[in-house]
Amino acid sequence: MKTPALLALALLAVSMHASAQDAAGTPQQSPAPASGTTQVKLCDNKTTVQVSKDAPKTREEGQKISDSLMAQWKAANPGKDWVQAEVEAHQVVTPEDNSKLVGTGQSSTYGAVTQQDVQVWNNETYKMAVYGSTVFHSSDELGSDIAVSCDMCHPRAANTHPETYPKFQPQLGRVALLRDMINWCIEHPVRGKVLAPDDPKMRALEAYILAQRKGVPLDYGKR
């Protein structure tokens, strides 16, 4: 469920359709648009909302439209609120809260850091760690041949010691990075599919493992 849901959540953008040949709306929606309205469709190509043609083109109106679409989408896709569901089952340490930076310095836009900047940094970072948690806890996501997942031996990522990398691993015959050790554990105890270094799952696993050790000083080379 994870990857498609991740994509779907990112689909807050709405596309405007003046016509509505496909009557794929939800029960609340009349299949054909009333005259004088525009049909707005979600990127799933199904969920729609009718908007009066002369509704004011303001930010508030836009927000209403997207809220309505997302509420429908969530109702039609229960269990797809994967971040919340994952966090309810498996605690994931939250990233540094940077809100003390609000009003200071220069952000991605010209001007001071806004509350919204901080929220975006926080949400996006957390979401990646949470996605890592779903992979870490799922033998299917890891492609395990023997139904084994990481949490079976590392509850809440205990004993993964990411702060000790890089370090020399004689059995690997070289200095290992965290991802080398993750791959070793995927291949051996888990008997899953080794991941490319830039595979989204590998990136997410690293994010989750590092997140769980937040606050522990770096100590590369430690055994």
Binding site: E88, A89, H90, Q91, H137, I146, A147, V148, D151, M152, C153, H154, P155, R156, A158, N159, H161, Q171, M181, W184, C185, H188, P189, R223
Partner: protein, 384 residues
């Protein structure tokens, strides 16, 4: 490296430290096994000293007839041995053969004990997902044990059909029996309050939730009021001087709630056991060497045959000497089985037979002395 390569490089035949160590260890045990009882009593001190001199830190192997040391002492009860196997987490064989092989190894270990233990405790979590086929296969494998088996249930055996098939195979989940003057109680300590109905979970979803150690959706383990009542009544007829040994799957104390290393009504159960002079609790679930004492009660963990667990980041009892952090490159490290030598007074020496490492013994005298004497040797790599 091939032999002629060795010749060319003029490297004499070198045996590694590990090889030499294992050879010495093997020779020691072979020698000890061949001694008769009386000779053993005389020789064991010297053998142990020789072993220590040779750098062997844990000279006693689980398969030694430890009970003979007490056989001549007399007293009300006799000393005896029993063995344990625990936490095998079997999936059906076509899903995961590794865990099946590991249980077979433990069965071989126990069957090769000479003399045979009086009985074998199975410590719970025979199955991984509580399926009928998993439990059936486990029962089949345990049938090949030569000694009689006492079964205990774990959460992985239970939450698919709420113990229905386990009960069919093995009988009631809590019971008691007497053996050579010791009163044994087997508890079912992993009941959970209903978290599944309100969420509309299927049996498989319920099982998966409980199977995740760090899954926070589930409730805490508990013995529960009805079983505590049963325990009270069962112990009513037992005198305070009778040694009591309790088996529970979860530790009967509160260690670390986020991993359910925990029994929610532990204090209530401890209170029921308070009146006895000597009480020992043996628990599974934690997959590691774990030692604790609360008042008159001594607690020991059991090793798993499936996978080792890290030590909890908080709440570790002060008396616990950790086992070495397992080596991830050795698939059987941190795993094993073990045995328990029961003294005539009912207190026990607990042996952790760690596969691929020296066994680790935690003696009653270590616990009785509050950790002052017979301290087990600390490992090189402890958890952090």
């Amino acid at each position: 490296m091939s032999d002629d390569m060795n010749d060319k490089l003029k490297i004499p035949h070198i045996r590694s430290v590990e090889t030499r160590h294992l050879e010495e260890r093997e020779a020691l045990f072979r020698g000890l096994r061949n001694l008769d009882r009386r000779a053993f009593l005389k020789a064991s001190g010297g053998a142990a000293a020789a072993a220590v001199a040779a750098g062997v830190t844990y000279p006693f192997h689980s398969f030694l007839p430890i009970n003979v040391a007490y056989a001549d002492e007399g007293g009300a009860a006799q000393g005896f041995n029993f063995a344990y196997i625990s936490d095998s987490h079997l999936y059906v064989k076509k899903t995961n053969e590794r865990f099946v092989r590991q249980l077979l190894r433990a069965v071989d270990d126990v069957n090769s004990l000479d003399p045979q233990p009086d009985f074998v405790l199975y410590g719970g979590d025979l199955a991984q997902l509580g399926r009928r086929e998993e439990l059936d296969m486990g029962a089949q494998i345990l049938k090949s044990l030569k000694a009689p088996v006492h079964m205990m249930a774990g959460e992985h055996d239970w939450y698919y059909d709420m113990g229905e098939h386990w009960n069919t195979l093995f009988g009631p989940e809590h019971y008691s029996f007497d053996h050579k003057g010791v009163h044994f109680v087997v508890l079912m300590s992993v009941h959970e309050k209903d978290f599944w109905s309100a969420r509309g979970m299927s049996p498989a979803e319920r099982m998966h939730t409980v199977a995740g150690l760090d899954n926070a959706v589930q409730s805490a383990f508990e013995v529960g009021a009805p079983q505590r009542e049963w325990l009270k009544q069962d112990l009513d007829k037992v005198s305070a001087t009778t040694p009591v040994i309790v088996f529970s799957h979860s530790p009967l104390y509160k260690l670390y709630r986020p991993w359910n290393f925990w029994t929610d009504d532990a204090e209530d159960v401890q209170a029921i056991l308070q009146r006895f002079d000597h009480v020992t609790v043996l628990h599974g679930h934690t997959h590691q060497v774990l030692t604790n004492r609360i008042g008159n009660i001594q607690f020991h963990g059991m090793l798993s045959t499936a996978w080792p667990w890290p030590y909890a980041p908080q709440g570790l009892p002060a008396l616990t000497v950790q086992m070495n952090r397992p080596n991830p490159f050795d698939a059987n490290d941190g795993l094993g089985d073990g045995s328990v030598a029961v003294h005539p007074d009912g207190l026990v020496d607990k042996l952790y037979n760690l596969w691929n490492r020296n066994p680790m013994q935690v003696k009653a005298s270590y616990l009785s002395s509050g950790g002052k004497s017979d301290i087990p040797v600390a490992p090189t790599l402890s958890s952090y």
